[in-house]
């Protein structure tokens, strides 16, 4: 049995899953295809419905 978790994709969903698992004390391996994590959300300027900054 392995306790580690593999997360494929470093966008908002992958980052949130990774952080939740890591905060529970689980080792996470986060694999991202592109050179940096952030995904589509990092490309957004602001987010609805609060117009908060996306990054």
């Amino acid at each position: 049995m392995s306790k580690d978790v593999l997360v494929i994709g470093g966008g908002i969903a992958g980052m949130q899953s990774s952080l939740d698992l890591a905060d529970m004390g689980i080792n996470v391996h986060l694999v991202e295809k592109l050179p940096s994590i952030g995904g589509k959300m990092a490309q957004l300027d602001k987010t609805f419905p609060t117009n908060d900054c996306a990054i």
């Binding site: 908002i12 969903a13 592109l34 050179p35 609805f48």
Partner: protein, 452 residues
């Protein structure tokens, strides 16, 4: 993002892909390919000196091709990890030409042209697929002429134009105007260079080029080789400066886009492409129109759609606020065609279904609210990992277990499962994390029990 990069329990494997998955829930053996960056991750400080000196200019994918980057680059300024990457398709050195400027510039000695892809073996209990989505490419829709009309852009391109860190610094400069400005820069550079040569001739012969050229054309200096060169240079200089003046006059009339149109359901709710509703595009367009109005208070926006789907906490209020405070008009009706009018202005022909009339309206820029398409490569990934996809190529789930794939121990969240917005993605991500944790903390394993 920063939290992810810093967390002691997260091993960040950026610029990597999953190659092979074997085993079952609780015990998966995974092979990960760490693609060669040609930059040593542990040495690179992310200072960016290499990118400043790199001679190769490439369109910037992060800015949807609206900006430029170098062949050695950071994907975006705040990117985590901040390690730079060499784009092997464009790097001169890696394509057999003489260069290596980045290696000479790098004080940390992080550049390594010999780097190869590395393979990493992992043993994990559970897998979460959060592969995301692709922005639908509207090129196949003939009536919107996305490829032909410069000022028809996609919502994500418009997002980059709105962004203060984007290619226009947050000004809504129209793509057609930016193309003219780019041409001006090129011509100015050329004219400056030829002017320098002309100056040398003028100094040598002691008369201005224009006066000399008149005499030359009148038949003087026929056998003078040097003066022949001068005349040739002067004609090519004129060939650059004349269109330059025309373009400069044109550019004086440029202003930021103030009349915006947003077209909803581009590729979604369309039986030619994707019949499903992508969910977030209505709100996305309202948000973009609101931010555009914030940047330039004279901006007016028309949102063309069958209906505005503002389903979510605070969404309907947001839509009304946009209409009241941000000059947004919601037009019910689908757009039949976009054509190009004077000054590269797109003209929209549509049926106003409330008035039952076919109308035409001119805009400065048109934004296409493109569908959420399944990500390219998801079929290969699904095969590698061993999960089933639905008929559109999203990861297959059932309505009562929306994060469980068809394979136990493998979960899915975000737009890899179906189109969804940020709050939904976050909620589903936490849900998938919890399902994965159930496996990690399964009783019967003493080590896990102690941690739990």
């Amino acid at each position: 993002m920063l939290d992810v990069g810093r967390h002691p329990n997260i091993e960040l494997l950026a610029y990597s892909e999953v190659e092979k998955v074997e085993g079952q829930a609780g015990n998966f053996n995974v092979t990960v390919r760490r693609k060669a960056r040609y930059v040593e991750e542990d040495r690179c400080t992310g200072c960016g000196a290499c990118a400043e000196k790199c001679p190769t200019v490439v369109p910037d994918a992060f800015n949807e091709g609206l900006g430029e980057r170098r062949a050695i680059y950071a994907y975006f300024a705040q990117g985590i990890p901040s390690t730079h990457t060499i784009d092997a398709d464009h790097c001169r050195q890696l394509n057999g030409k003489k260069c290596g400027i980045c290696a000479k510039t790098c004080q940390a000695e992080a550049i390594n042209f010999e780097q190869k892809d590395r393979f990493l073996e992992l043993n994990v209990g559970a897998i979460i697929i959060a592969a995301g989505y692709d922005v639908f490419d509207p090129s196949p829709i003939p009536e919107y002429r996305y490829q032909e009309i410069a000022n028809v852009v996609t919502a994500i391109e418009f997002e980059r134009l709105l962004s203060a860190s984007g290619p226009t610094g947050g000004h809504m400069d129209r793509p057609s105007d930016r193309a003219v400005e780019a041409e001006i820069t090129v011509l100015e550079k050329k004219a400056k260079k030829s002017q320098k040569t002309l100056d040398k001739f003028e100094e040598k012969f002691g008369e201005p080029s224009a006066e000399f050229y008149e005499k030359f054309q009148a038949g003087q200096y026929k056998d003078d080789e040097d003066r022949q060169k001068w005349a040739d240079k002067y004609t090519s200089h004129l060939a650059d400066t004349e269109p330059l003046e025309v373009l400069k006059n044109k550019a004086e009339g440029f202003s930021v886009a103030k009349r915006l149109a947003f077209i909803q359901c581009v590729g979604s709710r369309d039986f030619r492409f994707y019949p499903f509703c992508s969910g977030y595009c209505c709100m996305h367009s309202i948000k973009e129109a609101m931010i555009a109005h914030e940047h330039e208070p004279e901006t007016t926006s028309s949102i063309f759609g069958m209906d505005i789907r503002a389903v979510g906490k605070g969404f309907e209020e947001y839509k009304i606020r946009g209409g009241n405070n941000s000059n947004i008009t919601y037009v019910r009706g689908r757009v039949a065609e976009i054509t190009e009018g004077p000054n590269n202005n797109p003209i929209i022909t549509y049926e106003d279904t409330r008035e039952r009339k076919v109308k035409s309206q001119e805009f400065d820029m048109v934004v296409l609210a493109t569908a959420c398409a399944p990500i390219k490569g998801i079929a290969e990934l699904a095969k590698t990992v061993g999960v089933e996809l639905d008929k559109y190529n999203f990861v297959k789930t059932s309505s009562l277990s929306p994060v469980d794939t068809t394979t136990p121990g493998i979960f899915v969240c975000g737009c890899a499962e179906s189109p969804m917005d940020v709050p939904e993605s976050v909620a589903q991500a936490s849900s998938a994390a919890e399902r994965a944790a159930e496996i990690a903390f399964q009783p019967g394993n003493e080590k896990e029990k102690a941690v739990a």
